[in-house]
């Protein structure tokens, strides 16, 4: 998957999980955790979804919520230059 495809998949997933947010309100730099668009209980689902997109597991031991702050930040933390991913 290229960058655009990954970000599009992420957008779709976030909109579906939130269930209320309008597509135009979700920008690549919208703070999804801070604005409670994604709840703490949904982070586990988000990690599994990212693993599915990457095609490999994420080392979760030292992750902080900041790595999921926005779609752009998620992309750069888990996909950009990901040597083991399939993107």
């Amino acid at each position: 998957m290229n960058e655009q495809e990954v970000k599009l998949s992420l957008r779709k997933w976030i909109i579906e999980k939130n269930g209320k947010i309008q597509s135009e309100d979700l920008k690549p730099d919208t703070p999804i955790i801070e604005q409670r668009i994604i709840s703490s209980l949904q982070i586990m689902d988000l990690i599994l979804f990212l693993e599915k997109l990457r095609g490999n597991a994420i080392d979760v031991e030292n992750l902080k919520p900041g790595v999921f702050r926005t779609i752009d930040i998620i992309y750069s933390n888990f996909f950009k230059g990901n040597p083991n991913g399939k993107n």
Partner: protein, 278 residues
């Protein structure tokens, strides 16, 4: 409270006394087949008997792993509440609770590391947030209760299941023996905190707590469906299948049946107003 303390002293166990077999024959059941996350699905039905038993081993490792991950924050929360002004009278029992949770983690981790050489990682994450008076304590104890009510059903059934390897049965038995006391304590404190604070909370706060608890129940169940388990069994498309398994009617029916007592307690005490969607 004193009765619970007495019972804890009576059942006091040394976790290092447990007799561990050198190796575990993976051609035996380590987890009751009917409790396996994907039992009853087409994928499960197509597995050979040997693969079903191998899956039961990884399901046991996942069950013990998720228990470790549930008991770590529980232990932190109990330690944090020891001798706080409001909990001084509860502290003698909190000591037992903390001690027993520590022992459970020793049992679970020993099984995982001896036989699977790993503990499946925890993928939950908490985000700091602001609470109104009483909300944090209430949420801490009610989440502990929900988690333990579900786990305890697994423990009870597996401690009685003669098909299981003795060490798996014994860990489930030891866990249940302590959990039965933790549940008595948990139910009392949850009801007491809810009665104390519910009228002080705004409608919005109460509604937010109820929505959160329904989501917490669902999130708790998701941990039982771990794609790492399915990958260890060489099931392809583990991530896609995990969603499919979770959504399948047979798995949903099992979740509802196992959660029934817990949900009935939450409804009876007005903590939830309606059946959560599982």
């Amino acid at each position: 409270m004193e009765k619970l303390c007495e019972a804890s002293r009576r059942d006091y166990a040394n976790p290092y006394d447990l007799k561990w077999p050198e190796t575990l024959d993976q051609n035996q059941w380590c987890f009751s087949p009917e409790l396996i996350s994907i039992y009853g699905t087409d994928v499960y039905d197509k597995l050979s008997e040997a693969d079903k038993k191998r899956l039961s081993f990884y399901e046991a490792v996942n069950f013990f792993s998720l228990n470790i991950h549930g008991e770590k924050p529980l232990s932190e929360g109990l330690a944090h509440r020891l001798y706080s002004k409001r909990n001084i009278s509860l502290s003698p029992y909190l000591h037992h609770f903390l001690d027993e949770e520590n022992k459970h983690m020793i049992y679970f981790a020993s099984f995982c590391l001896r036989y699977a050489f790993k503990i499946y990682p925890d993928k939950k994450m908490s985000i700091p947030q602001e609470y109104v008076a009483g909300e944090e304590d209430f949420l801490f104890f009610v989440k502990v209760l929900i988690f333990e009510e579900i786990v305890d059903i697994f423990n009870i059934r597996m401690s009685r299941d003669e098909r299981l390897v003795p060490i798996a049965r014994e860990i489930n038995r030891l866990h249940h023996r302590d959990e039965s006391r933790h549940l008595v304590f948990g139910r009392e404190i949850v009801v007491s905190l809810f009665k104390e604070y519910k009228d002080q909370w705004s409608k919005e706060t109460l509604q937010k707590i109820r929505i959160y608890l329904a989501q917490y129940l669902l999130a708790t169940w998701k941990e039982y469906f771990n794609p790492e388990v399915y990958k260890d069994l060489n099931i392809s498309d583990a991530y896609d299948l995990t969603d499919r398994f979770f959504d399948s009617p047979v798995c949903r029916t099992r979740r509802i049946e196992i959660s029934a007592n817990c949900i009935s307690f939450l409804l009876k005490n007005g903590i939830l107003e309606k059946e959560p969607s599982l």
